[in-house]
Symmetry: C2
């Protein structure tokens, strides 16, 4: 697993650098170490002290503003007043779980389920994408009687015990459990038909899991392949693999925690670009624009089968406040036409980034859909090899230039571009300008 270590550490502050940090930042970092400790990860060569957010902007303690091209949770914009108001009003009125009747959860579920293919007819609510993927694994294993799961090589699906097992990017050492099969999506051919390649990979995975005696319960994929480094095209490349897999009785779990809620600009859900119908859809991050909420949509019979074995209840999941937050997010998405904006600004950004690619030989590739774009940085002097060091340098240069961004991919050399969906043309231009400067400053 050591070859994917880059993703975890790519943009992490190294605590060894504490001595070099500015005094006020150093004092805060020390506090962090003394309170949260070892699992605390901070971004940047010198961490940022952020104190305020608004729309696409974050502000530090010195009043410096940063264009946020990283955070995909505040998807309708930082501190959107509509969401804040909905949460505040509902918290002041009633905040209870789902074991009493309340119309909020029905209204929200109906509205959200209406955006999904009809077979996905029930919505269970949790607090985090991790909880959602954890339950999805249980549903798939219970339904199929199999244990094996197929994922992509640098996937991240969450942090519970069961979900960490299927999240190669979380492993700092050791190897994945035998029942987890990985597809090396970074080797997906660009010229030949990727859909045939992907289907072959899935077939090989099922064959291997069968031989090992686990069988295949599910293919679990984030259809924008975020932490793998963003693989969006050609739309539809998942279809042959998924149709074959479902015909074998295994399930497709679409992890929409990253591509969902309009980010790809092609409707609400990333999987729809691939013309597949998942058996289970998991969702999280942008669902409440920062209010902790997540969900899982599935066919009723899967939930009924699990429910015969074990009860499932989530104290905070689907609370009156969570559904109020979720409803406000859906309202804002619609009223501000943010999915159309994601498509429009995303197309513009991608096109301009392709211009950048033709200008700088350090830019090896641009991939993406809507406002989820990956840009690969390479070392031209080394035959265009992936360049994680350059990526780190660009990330930190962009920070100094007032733009927040992160990295992804097996080698940690893909810039992950995913601003709030409300980004405007002028802000996209500002990003492009600062990115060009930062690449130029770190080139050669």
């Amino acid at each position: 697993m050591s070859d994917i270590r880059g993703i975890l550490d790519q943009n992490a502050f190294s605590f060894d650098r504490l001595q070099q940090a500015d005094e006020r930042i150093g004092a805060l970092v020390r506090k962090r170490l003394e309170t949260v400790g070892p699992t605390s990860m901070l971004f940047y060569e010198e961490p940022l002290h952020i104190v305020r957010g608004e729309g696409v902007w974050l502000f530090d303690d010195q009043g410096q503003r940063y264009l946020d091209v990283y955070n995909n949770v505040p998807s309708v914009g930082h501190c959107h007043p509509r969401v804040v108001q909905a949460v505040a009003e509902q918290m002041g009125t009633l905040n209870v779980h789902t074991r009493y009747l309340h119309e909020g959860i029905h209204r929200y579920s109906e509205r959200l389920l209406a955006t999904l293919p009809p077979p996905l007819n029930r919505l269970v609510m949790m607090c985090t994408g991790s909880e959602s993927n954890d339950m999805a694994l249980r549903l798939a294993r219970q339904w199929t009687g199999h244990q094996g799961i197929i994922v992509t090589e640098a996937a991240y699906h969450g942090n519970t015990s069961a979900v960490t097992e299927v999240s190669p990017s979380s492993f700092k050492k050791g190897s994945l459990p035998e029942h987890v099969h990985v597809i090396p999506i970074s080797q997906m051919p660009e010229q030949a038909d990727p859909s045939a390649w992907f289907a072959d990979q899935v077939r090989a995975g099922v064959a291997r899991l069968d031989v090992l005696g686990y069988g295949c319960a599910a293919l679990l994929v984030d259809s924008i392949f975020s932490s793998d480094g963003v693989y969006a095209d050609p739309a539809g490349f998942l279809k042959p693999a998924v149709e074959w897999l479902q015909a074998q009785g295994a399930l497709l779990i679409a992890d929409e925690v990253q591509p969902g809620f309009g980010r790809t600009g092609a409707g609400m859900w990333g999987f729809a670009r691939h013309q597949v119908t998942p058996d289970v859809v998991t969702m999280g991050k942008p669902m409440g624009n920062g209010f902790p909420m997540a969900g899982l949509a599935a066919r009723e019979e899967l939930l009924a089968a699990l429910n015969e074995d074990v009860g499932y209840f989530n104290t905070f999941g689907g609370s009156t406040v969570a559904v109020a937050a979720g409803m406000a997010v859906l309202d804002v998405l619609a009223e501000e036409a943010l999915i159309a904006n994601a498509r429009q600004q995303g197309d513009y950004l991608k096109q301009q980034l392709e211009v950048l690619q033709s200008t700088f030989e350090e830019v090896a590739a641009v991939r993406g859909a809507g406002l989820f774009i990956g840009l690969d940085l390479c070392n031209p002097a080394r035959d265009g090899a992936p360049d994680a060091a350059r990526t780190t340098a660009v990330i930190n240069a962009l920070k100094r230039n007032g733009v927040l961004i992160g990295a992804a991919g097996k080698t940690g050399s893909t810039l992950k571009i995913r601003p709030p969906l409300c980004i405007a043309r002028a802000e996209a231009d500002l990003f492009l300008d600062r990115l060009e400067q930062s690449i130029r400053a770190t080139a050669g």
Copy 2:
């Protein structure tokens, strides 16, 4: 496991009764089935439609008010304005994760860690108690190299794959995994020394897990034994078992999701009543008074060891808004002296319930600490056998009488009394009065 099924179904609305339900309630139940479906659990013979909460009161859609003696999440009172305001202000200012620096998480962690024994020197934040217990299991297994876990027979520790395995009360059929050993706490002797009995049980569990080759990673207990039916006394009965276990190198995970944050009236933490120092403390429900947040306190070296193997990050855990909610809860606990109130009202309630016990032969036992009290109902005509049917009848009678309460225990015959910590004497008296009426009405 069929003998503990009662806990899950004890106060659940049976969807078979849909035809008999009031028209407006029936319509809402139908909506629930059509949106959430099989995993949706509703309380009561006829579900309640709740629309508003305030302090110790919940209000239904007909304006009827109910004294809440069930819900332990809104521990400082439903919709406490201080918490609502803290969340609204922070949500409107900044709502981001922990990978930027922010003073809020340091201040909150310092304040919370100061309430814990010094060896517990780091705080990791999550969204749910399930996530916290899931990580606790990983810490214990990674630290000890063992897989076995000891829990009590009707315990509930959460809903992830790994945590469901150690939650006997979640199993509707099948049996617990072999690496989970259960202590039959309902058989704990009242006359002889319970601490010797409990230590013997733990020793026997470790011996069995060793023979099976799993070894024992941890004893995972909720020190008030909520879902087992509330076993509080004598304070200290855990001590010999825990000291022996820790000397063997296994860990104590104190699940403070239920007893924590002052509920027992004996300080912040339930484990402290037993004079033990846990290796890991997990917390959840009341931590944010309904804002989804949870935490895990542990010794730094445990977290460092896990962090060498896998990264841990929780998107919403410890967000600027979560810590604002948590800080407001700590403020209210202190300013309204709620721990002292929990002790005072809890002592009064327990004393009055003991009077009830001497009046009604249907009341078999009263156990508890502070505002977490269990009252066993039995059938005097059947040699005082636990009486789940009577418990259900009393719960539903209390609902008709304007009081919300639930059941616990292996046989589902323990009334679980846990009002918000701000309950006043007059409200405690109202509860006692309604309880007496309800027992009388269902007696004989």
